[in-house]
């Protein structure tokens, strides 16, 4: 369990990083937190000839909030985002999902952008990106110039460990929209052990109207298909009082939408069953979260 030989690059600016990536092309791999890549190297399941370590790029170590979005740059660790109070207030789903990401030691090293770029269908943040329809910001060198392009979160994931990011591109940042007023979110999952990849996980966002009825509701699932599976419940639930929601119908819609496979830890049938269970749980928690937020705002 020792990695095969590789050439190590340590750029200090985004420009340098994309220059190296352009030069090494398909033989290169970006190293950020290393929580997935290093094990792959040690198992000799991956053997990139070049590692481009972006940990030394100071400009990427940023979390920025504006009126619309939370912007998370490539150097930001899970743990930092998880504990960020302003981010939690703006976009609670991030913390709600991040507490399910492995263990504190992994979250101390692993990065948000790295986890999204890795496109693991069991990665919690993939569902967050899709559910919130965030944006992935990519940087590359094009004709000697730094060029940037944005990809909508809902289009980013292409397959298992496959995303719309070229070998010469760096995920420079990801933005997540703020949670609107009268909205709530939740993330629930079933894992074999605390901190394991989910057997099935579900994120939910719910928008309530002024009377407290459901105006919109969406779900996104992990571990039940090659990419995160989004389910829009708005048609089913719009106008419904949360207490009157037919959870069985929610579960059915979720089960119909997911495309799970079988593996060591769970059969496809069990995962599909869980998608229904977790759909109902996530929805209920998101409604409770929306009410909590509303009540807290009303407090003096």
């Amino acid at each position: 369990m020792k990695p095969p030989p590789f050439t190590y690059h340590a750029p200090t600016t985004v420009e340098e990083a994309v220059d190296v990536l352009a030069e090494v092309g398909e033989d290169g791999k970006v190293l950020a937190g290393g929580q997935s890549l290093i094990p792959l190297l040690n198992f000799r399941l991956a053997a990139p000839e070049h590692l481009v370590d972006v940990n030394g790029i100071g400009a990427l170590d940023r979390i920025a909030l504006d009126d619309d979005v939370v912007r998370v740059s490539a150097g930001v660790r899970h743990a930092r985002l998880e504990r960020h109070q302003a981010v939690y207030a703006a976009c609670p789903l991030l913390r709600q999902a991040l507490v399910h990401v492995a263990h504190p030691v992994v979250r101390n090293r692993g990065t948000v952008c790295g986890s999204i770029a890795h496109a693991d269908p069991a990665g919690e943040l993939t569902a967050v990106l899709v559910l919130l329809d965030g944006t992935v910001h990519l940087a590359a060198q094009r004709a000697g110039q730094l060029a940037r392009r944005d990809v909508p979160g809902s289009d980013f994931f292409r397959g298992v460990f496959e995303a719309d990011v070229g070998a010469d591109e760096l995920v420079e940042a990801v933005t997540f929209p703020r949670l609107p007023a009268r909205a709530g979110s939740a993330f629930v999952e079933v894992a074999r052990r605390h901190g394991d990849y989910a057997v099935c996980g579900a994120g939910a966002t719910v928008q309530l109207d002024e009377r407290g009825r459901i105006a919109a509701a969406r779900l996104a699932f992990i571990s039940v298909g090659p990419v995160p599976v989004a389910v829009d419940l708005t048609e089913l639930l719009a106008g419904a009082a949360p207490a009157r929601v037919r959870l069985e119908a929610v579960a059915e819609q979720a089960r119909a939408a997911v495309r799970p496979g079988s593996d060591l830890h769970a059969s496809a049938e069990y995962r599909r069953h869980l998608a229904g269970v977790l759909a109902a749980r996530a929805l209920q928690e998101a409604v409770a979260d929306a009410r909590d937020r509303r009540d807290r705002r009303r407090e003096p």
Binding site: P4, V190, R192, R193, H194, L264
Partner: protein, 794 residues
């Protein structure tokens, strides 16, 4: 006042050093050593047709590489069969490096020595082995079918078959008012210590000696095995077990191929050589245990009393049987547990498969035995609609029947005779501790809230402290430092604490003066090893006897110095005193000075021992004919038979009606290992054991696919539970002393793991109303069981 430390729950003396990161584990040694990587078979079963090393030779830093044909004759022979048995009629063991055929994924094929492990792996990757795949034999069904053979010359893949019978089972079953048939299964798991295996050897050309460090549970036997394989006099080989990060059985297996090859290469190359096993290697190339299927027929009366029990089981021993039949023999002989069975017959077949070999893992056949017996008792209770605890009570051996001969031959070749225990008292305690009698109310309340609760109970008897012997050596220096040596090694048990407690108590010295060294053949060459919950019983007893010898000698010498009768003396806090006359005293370290008359005064205390300082007695020599210099003693403990500890566990679980997840709400252990040397350490052993038991019940399995590939060979997919999965554990003790040893103690190391699968299966069955006949059980499988049972699961 005597120093009384035996029985005190003092903190482990090992921990400050280990917690500060000052442990010296195998890979912490030998920073200048060459490092080894192995090319291992990627196939479960294949013929090697070619090995092309040309590409590897180009790797910068490669020092040597070897395949089977490169080895000297002794190393080309199969490795030893460690524990022969008359029933093991088809024993097969592996070669150091595979000879033409590989029989499990992970079997070593070539050895690479390089400047470091990175380079060694680079070179290993470039060795091109051509395999002609043969039919894999995976799982007990395939092994028993025997359509494909693991070893060409072993028909039916049967390594061994053994039957033991007490009474007339056929007659008992024929006459029993009720009978039941059950099929019960336990899957594979493994010891999985956090430190995997490792060997580091240095050849000292100046002395012509070989020093071998191994992460082993038996350095004394490794020493002799290496000496034999390398053709060296034992006198020229030393073996040391450094700090060992867990063993749990896998490291009692020896000599590993690697344990022979690394010292051989070190000697051949004249340079230090080290191999540190990585986790992937450990999963596929060390050893596993547990996989057994059991077919049971039981006959019983209206009270649930067992009149006859007929057990046929199959044991999957993997590709080779280097450790003999120990595991299935233990299952066969420990299955009766605390019960009087009427007639009992047990027959097993030990079968080859093309998977990792099997050797004992903590519990060693007992978790399977306990699962088989306890599930049977629960099935009897269910059939009779009687309380499960009451059916157990009806079958227990009574305390006044001790010693109780169960009529079987134990793993040590000696009769299995329970020496001590009070099973009804243990049952009463565990019922109390778990709240057995109040549980129906709890269950009903939970049910009213839509929650599913269940309770389960499991009992076991565990043969511990098996022979043949261990030794101890206690030596008091003139500084007052007390050195304690024993040959068996430590893997985290706390020997440096409990052995010091024994010596401090026996000798009357402060604990801080006592220094314990284990597992170093330079210090104590005679030993058997650390396994079978035997270290405290065997080495603890031997050390106590050695300390008593030292005490007797100290009292004799002190009596002379104090002009007193030895019977009037006591030792406390390292000072020998005349009882009732505190002024008449001599420190033990001064007694040590007197014990060794000297010619040369090299320091202050030596001056006191020189020939002109000591009172001269012209009519006898400085050392009497029947005496030896020095204040030290050595003794051995060799028991007639094993001691039998016992215990009972109970669990309350909650099963999620939607997700089928199992949560353990309460876990209770009542345990009888005789007098506790250190309650804190015993409880730590129980906690660890229960954690491993929960692992085997709900999480861990070896997921071999049909091709014989281990598909979960990493800690990502092999689900060793974290602390977050282990509940609080309530513990109570009984201390019925064993009559077999000077301290009355029985083993405690393995106990915690034994009944967990049985107790949890019973609790889940109680919660769900679905029979549980197979462990481990995942939420996915429980979900499937519910669907099959047509239960309420949606």
């Amino acid at each position: 006042m005597t120093t009384r430390l035996f029985g005190e729950g003092i903190a482990r003396r090992e921990d400050p050093r280990l917690l500060r990161g000052e442990g010296r584990y195998l890979d912490d040694l030998g920073s200048d050593a060459l490092e080894v990587a192995f090319v291992r078979s990627p196939h479960a079963h294949a013929r090697i047709t070619d090995i092309d090393v040309a590409d590897a030779l180009d790797v910068d830093g490669l020092v040597a590489l070897y395949v089977h044909e490169d080895l000297p004759a002794r190393l080309r022979e199969p490795l030893p069969l460690l524990i022969p048995h008359p029933a093991l009629t088809q024993p097969r063991t592996a070669c150091c490096l595979a000879d033409a055929v590989v029989r499990h994924v992970g079997e070593p094929v070539a050895m690479v020595v390089a400047t470091d492990r990175y380079v060694a792996e680079d070179a290993a990757e470039r060795i091109d082995v051509t395999y002609e795949p043969l039919e894999p034999v995976v799982g007990l069904d395939a092994a028993a079918r025997g359509a494909a053979r693991v070893h060409d010359d072993v028909p039916g893949n049967v390594a061994a078959a053994l039957v033991q019978e007490v009474g007339d089972v056929d007659a008992a079953l024929a006459q029993a008012p009720h009978t039941l048939d059950l099929a019960l299964e336990i899957e594979r798991s493994a010891s999985t210590p956090l430190e995997a295996r490792g060997v580091y050897a240095r050849w000292d050309a100046d002395d012509g000696t070989l020093r071998v460090y191994s992460s082993t549970q038996t350095p004394t036997s490794v020493r002799f095995a290496v000496a034999a394989k390398l053709g060296l006099p034992a006198e020229k080989v030393e073996c040391v077990a450094p700090d060992v990060g867990g063993g749990f059985g896998v490291k009692i297996m020896h000599p590993w191929a690697e344990e022979i090859l690394v010292p051989w290469a070190a000697r051949l190359l004249g340079r230090p050589v080290k191999w540190t096993e990585d986790r992937v290697e450990h999963f596929v190339a060390a050893t596993h245990e547990r996989a057994q299927t059991h077919d049971i027929t039981v006959g019983f009366d209206d009270d649930g009393r067992i009149l006859g029990l007929d057990v046929r089981f199959r044991h999957d021993n993997g590709a080779y049987v280097p450790y003999g039949l120990i595991v299935p023999i233990i299952t066969a002989t420990q299955l009766p547990g605390p019960y009087k069975l009427g007639a009992y017959r047990v027959a097993f077949e030990s079968l080859y498969s093309t998977t990792c070999p099997v050797t004992p893992y903590r519990g060693a056949g007992r978790p399977q035995a306990c699962f088989a017996m306890e599930r049977t008792v629960d099935a009897i209770a269910a059939r009779l609609e009687r309380d499960r605890a009451a059916v157990r009570a009806a079958n227990l051996i009574a305390p006044d029947e001790m010693p109780y001969d169960i009529g079987l031959v134990f793993q040590d070749g000696r009769p299995a005779i329970y020496d001590s225990g009070d099973f009804p008292a243990t049952l009463a305690k565990v019922r109390e501790l778990i709240g057995w009698d109040d549980f129906p109310r709890l269950k009903a309340e939970a049910a009213a809230e839509g929650r599913r609760l269940g309770i389960g109970l499991a009992c076991y008897v565990e043969g511990t402290g098996v022979g043949p012997y261990e030794g101890g050596h206690v030596h008091v220096e003139t500084s007052g430092r007390v050195n304690v040596y024993t040959g068996l090694s430590s893997q985290g048990q706390g020997h440096a604490t409990v052995f010091a407690q024994i010596v401090a108590t026996e000798l009357g010295v402060p604990l801080d003066d006592v220094h314990v060294t284990t597992g170093d053949t330079r210090r104590f060459p005679y030993a058997v090893g650390t396994f079978a919950s035997r270290a405290a019983v065997m080495s603890g007893s031997a050390i106590a006897l050695a300390a008593r010898k030292v005490r007797a000698k100290a009292l004799r010498i002190a009596a002379e110095a104090l002009e007193a009768n030895p019977d009037d003396l006591e030792i406390s806090e390292g000072i020998v005193r005349v009882k009732g006359s505190p002024g008449d005293a001599i420190p033990l370290k001064a007694v040590a000075v007197l014990s060794n008359p000297l010619r040369y005064a090299f320091d202050e205390s030596a001056r006191a021992a020189t020939q002109f300082a000591l009172p001269a007695s012209e009519d006898r020599p400085p050392i009497a004919d029947d005496d030896e210099p020095g204040l030290e003693g050595r003794d051995y403990y060799s028991p007639l038979r094993s001691t039998f500890a016992n215990g009972m566990h109970a669990a309350v679980v909650e099963t999620d009606p939607d997700t089928a997840e199992v949560r353990i709400l309460r876990y209770a252990v009542v345990h009888d290992c005789g007098p506790l040397i250190n309650p804190r350490i015993v409880e730590g052993q129980i906690h660890g054991g229960v954690a491993q038991g929960i692992a085997g019940a709900l999480y861990e399995r070896m997921a071999y696919d049909e091709a014989g590939q281990l598909t979960n060979a990493s800690f990502m997919d092999f689900l060793m539970p974290y602390a977050t999965e282990i509940p609080a554990i309530a513990i109570d003790h009984l201390e019925t002393p064993s009559p077999l040893n000077p301290l009355g103690i029985k083993g405690a190391g393995e106990a915690g793991v034994i009944p967990v699968s049985a107790a949890l299966a019973a609790a889940i069955e109680d919660a769900e109303g679905i029979p549980i006949h197979r462990m481990p059980l995942s939420p996915d499988e429980l979900h499937a069981l519910r669907a099959r049972a047509g239960g309420e699961a949606s």
